[in-house]
Subunit: 338 residues, 2 copies
């Protein structure tokens, strides 16, 4: 079908090796020959078969990206970042959606492993051992998850939580509820830790409402318990959950932020559009994807373990104050002017 290197060689009247060199190591072939080859290649619309090259060089020029659920707006953002950066480096991206299934995850990873130079695992569901095992014989970069000895790009959960708490405390909140994500979620655990630490530092109460699905429905399910907790503000595991909270609170006639303040995490596009617009900790999701690619590519280029293993990028979040947070309900005036 498509033209092969030999077709080009024949047309240019040279050997295949010369074509190969003319195209990938110009400078080593005579200028006029090179011109002839290039003309021939052009004419035939020739483009080298990456797979064949990969067989020899051991580099496929492809990377794999595994995400748990594309329906969660968080992930398309990082996929976009990965995409963009990969394109810059001229590598193609395999995408796999595991549907939140840890078992499918390792299966997919193994299937992908053979045809890529490395993998980016985004918020992986697999357990720590499995991840370590995978990372042992494949180039792997983790996103939003930390595993001993595996390069990763993560978000500064503690810092983000600190900002959220500082904001709420400034608004007079003294009792804050935490609506956690899935029990096994690495980021939920770390957000929780950061939150408790920040609350402690500020001397305010934090009440843990429990674990919920990282979805709109999870937020709806958590709302009533959050209200019952007696807190004047709620921090949710992520924006989707926060928006679910908003919906249920509205349905119950509870006004946000007058009766209750709500803070999300992620800053997905939807958050600007919710009513009220959601105050949230913006996580540079796309940037995370970009950095993951850089890390992975560096790792591929220089497989020297020492320089890479343990490398990790930590991205800082930024509090986006919008309309879902306000003065604490049990205060009637600006706490700054008592």
């Amino acid at each position: 079908m498509a033209a092969t290197i030999r077709d080009v060689a024949r047309l240019a009247g040279v050997s295949a090796s010369t074509v190969s060199r003319a195209l990938s190591m110009p400078g080593v072939v005579n200028a006029t020959t090179r011109a002839r080859v290039q003309a021939a290649a052009e004419q035939l619309g020739y483009a080298p078969n990456k797979a064949a090259r990969g067989l020899i060089t051991g580099r496929t020029g492809n990377i794999g990206l595994v995400v748990p659920d594309l329906a969660n707006p968080f992930f398309p953002s990082v996929v976009k970042g990965v995409q963009a950066r990969a394109r810059m480096h001229d590598v193609a991206v395999f995408l796999a959606d595991t549907d939140e299934d840890a078992a499918a995850e390792v299966g997919l990873v193994q299937a992908l492993a053979k045809q890529v130079d490395g993998l980016i695992l985004c918020s992986p569901r697999a357990d720590e051992e499995e991840l370590a095992e995978i990372a042992a014989d494949t180039n792997v970069v983790l996103v939003n998850r930390l595993v001993e000895g595996v390069p990763a790009v993560t978000f500064d959960n503690e810092g983000g939580m600190r900002q959220a708490v500082a904001h709420l405390v400034a608004l007079g909140h003294r009792r804050i509820a935490w609506v956690g994500g899935p029990k096994t979620s690495w980021s939920s655990a770390h957000r929780s830790i950061g939150l408790f630490a920040a609350a402690h530092d500020h001397g305010v109460q934090l009440v843990d409402v429990g674990h919920f699905a990282p979805t709109y429905e999870g937020g709806m399910a958590a709302a009533d318990q959050a209200v019952a907790s007696g807190a004047t503000a709620v921090v949710a595991y992520n924006d989707l959950v926060a928006i679910g909270l908003l919906a249920r609170l509205h349905a119950r006639g509870i006004t946000v932020p007058d009766d209750l303040s709500v803070v999300g995490i992620d800053d997905i596009a939807m958050s600007r559009m919710s009513r009220p617009a959601l105050t949230t900790v913006r996580l540079p999701k796309q940037r995370a994807g970009e950095i993951a690619v850089e890390l992975l590519l560096a790792m591929i280029d220089d497989p020297d373990p020492d320089t890479i293993i343990g490398t990790r990028g930590t991205l800082h979040g930024e509090l986006m104050v919008r309309d879902s947070t306000g003065l604490a309900a049990d205060r009637t005036s600006d706490p700054a002017r008592p």
Copy 2:
């Protein structure tokens, strides 16, 4: 690094050919040999190198998927459908996001073309000629776009619009505004046509408010013109636009649906969560992805042009009536009982 077929052969004490056969054409090798080979393969964690196979068979076992913008929630849904179906068939998926750039689109497509057996182009931005050209020497399935002679899966825009109009007419609306998408959008054009036809059939007025970006911002930009149009109901190019409308209308103190009804198209996840929840035409996005894969795979298996060329799946939308549509503002009672 990874085990090759020869490693397995050595361990099993047979030749590479036997391993190949044992694995891909069982039944042709002796049962005990096969067992030995399988054990060896298992032990070594062997998985064939798809690229090498591709060289010989001419099949890479990969497909490519090109979308204009993952940030638009419409696309992750179809990507998910493609993903799921591809996995069933054991093919891997290359994903490319073109960032709405028609030029990047053809470039990416050409780059991908060499390493896949076929391509799924989702709502392609490229012009008709380019698409036809690409389809000429690659297996291509279009999604949400029709081009002469190229297999495609599309949505029944006319039918969807008819449902929307029937719904609005039943609510007493007699003057409906249409907020169109990008000027060059195939689906915007067809939705517009369907809408006009339906309006004509029902004997109601349709006023075209113009073309807007298919985004939240586009909706915000369109809102005031929609209001000024004097219509009592607005149909938006898609849900994102409709939600943008909702936001701007709210900001202007216009109540939906009491003052104005709003109808979207797509039924993205966000639509259930908007306030008010958006009445919209649900498009089976994920299903579209699945069918596209089936179509593409069929095309790959049987490259006989006649059976495939022109094949197209048309998926029907379903009106989801939620809270953004109500009785026409200029009516005070149920129009069914005048």
